[in-house]
Structures are given as structure tokens and as C-alpha cells.
Amino acid sequence: MKEMICINCPLGCMLTVDDSDLSNIKVSGNTCPRGVTYAVNEITSPKRMVTGSVKVTGGNQAMLCVKTCEAIPKGLIFDCLEVMNGVTVQAPVAIGDVVISDVCGCGVDIIATKNIPKV
């Protein structure tokens, strides 16, 4: 049995997870179905959303904020940040624009989370 806090939303449900049988993980304490998915993933392959920023030129801002369009394996967080650190994009940029595609080969794109017009 394991206890964990669901990080899907600000509620932060305290989950009790029975992982004695990895093919049949039992979860209780969740308020919504996302809690079950979170607990199972956390036991089998934990994932996190990554938010950060990349340099941008040609706009009215120094930095463009970005996010992974879905959660990536926890072990890839710092590799992903390393890739972001080497990227400079050119304004204009719109929310949802792909800034880095298939980051670290994990199949997830990094997308812009701010509109930066060209100046």
C-alpha cells in the first residue's frame, strides 16, 4: 500500500494505492477518475507537465513561455529543459505554436503559451 497526493488539480486528493498486483492497481481516495489514472501512472511510469521559457527575438518580450503539450516521463524533465535552453524563436508567436517538436524523442511537442506580436 502507498499513499500519494494527486497533483492533477488544486484539490490535491490523498490517494491510497494498493500496488501489490501491478496488473491490477487499486486506488481509493480520489474525487474524480483522473486520480486513478494519476496513481497508476505514478506507479508504472510517472509523468509531469513541464513549463518553462525560451528566448525570443523580434518581439516586445525577452522570453517566450512554453509548455509540453502533455505530460512527459519524469526522467526526461532535465533533458527537455536542456533542449529548451538552446532554442531561440522569432516573433510573431501565437499560443499553441509548436516551438520544439517531439522533444527528446518522447513524442510530445513543446508549444508557446503566450502571444508575442512582431514589433
Binding site: 497533483i7 488539480c9 522570453m63 519524469k74
Partner: protein, 422 residues
């Protein structure tokens, strides 16, 4: 002097939602005054995700959440001024701002919504002894430096305070290559969300010391270390437990205070508990036609709740502009036995009986309690809660029938019933 029906001060989440709602109630003569070069307020620097689950049913980053509201304001053609700092408001609702573009301008408003947010408690407010080297920042300042300007303010970091901004910045600084050596929390619990302790500290093995504080800052030109000590149950540092943590940066995440200098100029009555205005159920302050919403009124946990409150303020301001009834007879709600405050703070003793929600905070962590409302000593409402904590705003909604009882009572009390019934 120009004339405007509605002047909204602040173009952050509160101001944007208020403007949108006012427009949707039919008001067209609106202007938003924003001191920053863009709309969006503090959301612009909150680049992490977790915003909007209530409002948009999806998880957005701060700038994405802001963009949704900015878009709605733009679509409606609501006027706004950027780089425009309001320097004065008086009780006659004359608003004076300065901007490079417009110079010094005074607007005579029919109604004003103060949506100017809050600011961080600084080092001076908590009296940390020690030297005055560079490297002490409020967490929000560090957030702006990293996320907006692209500067890393330090490499070896201690964070005082485990509120959400402190936790978020622990992860953010780690992401940018800094080493966060400890998060130090005075209280025996965190005022931040559990999810943030998990994903911002535990994920990166950052230690969190409860019942500890920073007793000294060392370093003449630049911070070289901070002395951390355990505190006793009176929150006083225990000398023998002092230890030096070498670091070059101290971030302070020690609370937020509504920014109410303008409200004071307008002679708005402020609450000594929240630092925000005393408002009635229409979010009107003690000065007729001046309204407050968002973090300038009381500090919220979630921006979604700021948006909802502010839309209500926008609606109420329009009703006022159209000549809605003003009730002079007000009843102050007493908050007792662990309830620190509630919003609204006063009730109009009019004959408007509509369902009404109350937001409140408690003073401590309490388990198995009942949030109860009494009218003239008689319990009219109760809500059982397994646990309440200062970091989590509580919300109750009273029916029109209960509101009728409250508005006709001589005294109204919101309280916590702990254990056995009162």
C-alpha cells in the same frame, strides 16, 4: 477632466473579468487603466500550469488564462490604457492617472472598480536581522526576473515561506539550474497546495523544514548564507537549533497584502484583518460607487475565484450606474471562534433577498468542525468540514430564505463549531 461611466483600475484577471461582465450587462462607457505595458497582471509571470480548471474546465498556464480574458475584452472593443499608473482617487470618484502617452489625466467616473491586486510582504515586514547584501528577493520579484526578463537571480537558494509562490519558485529556480537548498516554513503546516509540495519539492528532493525560520542573513556585498532555526510553539526561534546554510540568495514568500493606497486616498474603510475594503454583498465599499474585487479585496487561492468575484463586481457596478437602490443601513457580520474574516463583510439591511455566497478564511488548522451561521444567536446554517486550514478559502452559499432572516436580524455571526455543539 473627462467623464466615464465606469473606470476599472487594474488590467489583471480581476479588472478584465469585471470589464467583460460590465460590458455584457450593457455598459459601453468603460475604461481599464493598467500600469504595466500589457494586460494580464500577475498571470503574465505565472508561466506554470494549473489555472482555469473551474472557469474553462481545462488546465492552462497563467499567460494562457490571461489571454482568454484579454481576447474577450478585445472582442468587445473595451477601451484600455497601458503604462497608465493611477496616482489618486478621491471619494467623489475622480481618478487621476499618468502615462507617457496621455500625460496627467483626471477622469470623473460614475463608478470605480478597484481591481489592483496585492503585493508581497517584504523583508522589512518580518524583521529579519543581519546584513544588507544583495541577493534577498521576494519570490514574485524572482519570478518576474526569471520568467519575464530572463535573468537568474541566484545559484544557491534558500526560500523562506512555503506558500504557493515559494513552492513554484523552488521548482522554477531548479529548472533554470539553481540549487534550492531548503524551503523554510515558520508554521507547522504549509499554506501552499499539497500538489505543489509534491511536484515542486518532493520531485526534486528539496527539503521542507516546518516550524523553522530564518534568524539572520549573512553577507556584506552579496548574501553568503542564512541562519535557520527551529521555532517553539510560540513561534520563537530556539537558539540551540541554529544552523548556517551557505547560499547566495534568499527568496521570501511570506504572504501577500492587498494594495490599498488608492482606496485610502478615497477614504474607503479597510478591514484590519484582510487589508482589503469592507464591502457589502454588491462588493461596494463604504464609499458609494467604489467597488473592489480580486486580490485587492482579499487574497484568493485560485484565479478562477477572482474571475467569478470580479464578474459579480462588474455586474453590480453597472446596476449602481443605472441608479440602483443604495442602502445606508448596514449590518456588520461578526466572525468568531477561528473564523478570521468573511467577504462580504457587511450586509445591506434592505429587502433584497437573493441567495448569497460568503468566502472566508480560518485562523488555524481545525479538524471535524462545522462552519455555522447564527442570526440573533439562533443557528440558521451549518456546513460540516472534515478539515479546514488557513491556506484554503472556505465558501458557503446561503439561500434567499436564510438571507431574509439575516437581513432582518440585529446581529449575525459566522463561527466555527469545534467538537461538541456550541
Amino acid at each position: 477632466m473627462t467623464n466615464r461611466n465606469l473606470v476599472i483600475i487594474g488590467g489583471g484577471p480581476a479588472g478584465l473579468a469585471a470589464a467583460k461582465a460590465a460590458y455584457d450587462c450593457g455598459e459601453r462607457d468603460i475604461i481599464i487603466l493598467e500600469r504595466e505595458p500589457e494586460l494580464g497582471g500577475i498571470l503574465n509571470q505565472c508561466i506554470h500550469n494549473g489555472f482555469g480548471l473551474h472557469t474553462f474546465k481545462e488546465e492552462l498556464t497563467g499567460p494562457e488564462y490571461a489571454a482568454r480574458y484579454i481576447e474577450q475584452v478585445e472582442q468587445r472593443g473595451i477601451e484600455y490604457r497601458l503604462n497608465a499608473t493611477v496616482i489618486d482617487i478621491n471619494k467623489d470618484k475622480q481618478v487621476t492617472y499618468v502615462s507617457e502617452k496621455d500625460g496627467l489625466v483626471t477622469i470623473q467616473a460614475k463608478a470605480v472598480i478597484l481591481a489592483c491586486g496585492c503585493r508581497e510582504r517584504p523583508r522589512g515586514a518580518i524583521n529579519i536581522a543581519g546584513m544588507r547584501g544583495a541577493g534577498v528577493f521576494s519570490a514574485g520579484t524572482a519570478q518576474k526576473l526569471v520568467n519575464i526578463q530572463g535573468y537568474l537571480p541566484g545559484k544557491e537558494v534558500v526560500i523562506l515561506g512555503s506558500g504557493d509562490i515559494g513552492l513554484i519558485m523552488a521548482r522554477r529556480m531548479t529548472f533554470e539550474g539553481a540549487k534550492v537548498k531548503a524551503v523554510v516554513e515558520l508554521m507547522p503546516y504549509s499554506s501552499g497546495l499539497n500538489r505543489n509540495i509534491v511536484q515542486c519539492l518532493n520531485d526534486f528532493d528539496i527539503p521542507l523544514y516546518f516550524s523553522h525560520t530564518v534568524t539572520q542573513i549573512q553577507g556584506k556585498d552579496r548574501v553568503t548564507g542564512v541562519v535557520v532555526a527551529q521555532v517553539n510553539d510560540k513561534l520563537q526561534p530556539i537558539k540551540e537549533t541554529e544552523q548556517l546554510i551557505p547560499c547566495d540568495t534568499l527568496l521570501l514568500s511570506v504572504g501577500l497584502l492587498p494594495e490599498n493606497e488608492l482606496a485610502k486616498n478615497a477614504e474607503v474603510q479597510l478591514s484590519t484583518t484582510t487589508g482589503g475594503a469592507v464591502v457589502d454583498e454588491n462588493l461596494m465599499t463604504s464609499v458609494e460607487g467604489i467597488f473592489q474585487c480580486g486580490n485587492v479585496l482579499h487574497v484568493h487561492d485560485l484565479v478562477d475565484f477572482v474571475s467569478a468575484e470580479s464578474e459579480n463586481a462588474g455586474k453590480c457596478a453597472v446596476e449602481y450606474i443605472r441608479g440602483g437602490q443604495i442602502c445606508k443601513d448596514k449590518l456588520t457580520i461578526n466572525c468568531t471562534n477561528g473564523v478570521r474574516y468573511c467577504v462580504p463583510t457587511v450586509l445591506n439591511k434592505d429587502e433584497v433577498y437573493a441567495s448569497q455566497s460568503f468566502k472566508m478564511r480560518v485562523a488555524n488548522v481545525f479538524k471535524k468542525v462545522e462552519l455555522a451561521v447564527f442570526a440573533d444567536g439562533v443557528k440558521v446554517y451549518g456546513k460540516k468540514r472534515p478539515v479546514v486550514a488557513p491556506g484554503e478559502m472556505e465558501n458557503i452559499t446561503l439561500s434567499a430564505d436564510i438571507m431574509k432572516v439575516l437581513k432582518n436580524a440585529q446581529s449575525v455571526e459566522i463561527t466555527l463549531i469545534k467538537g461538541d455543539a456550541k
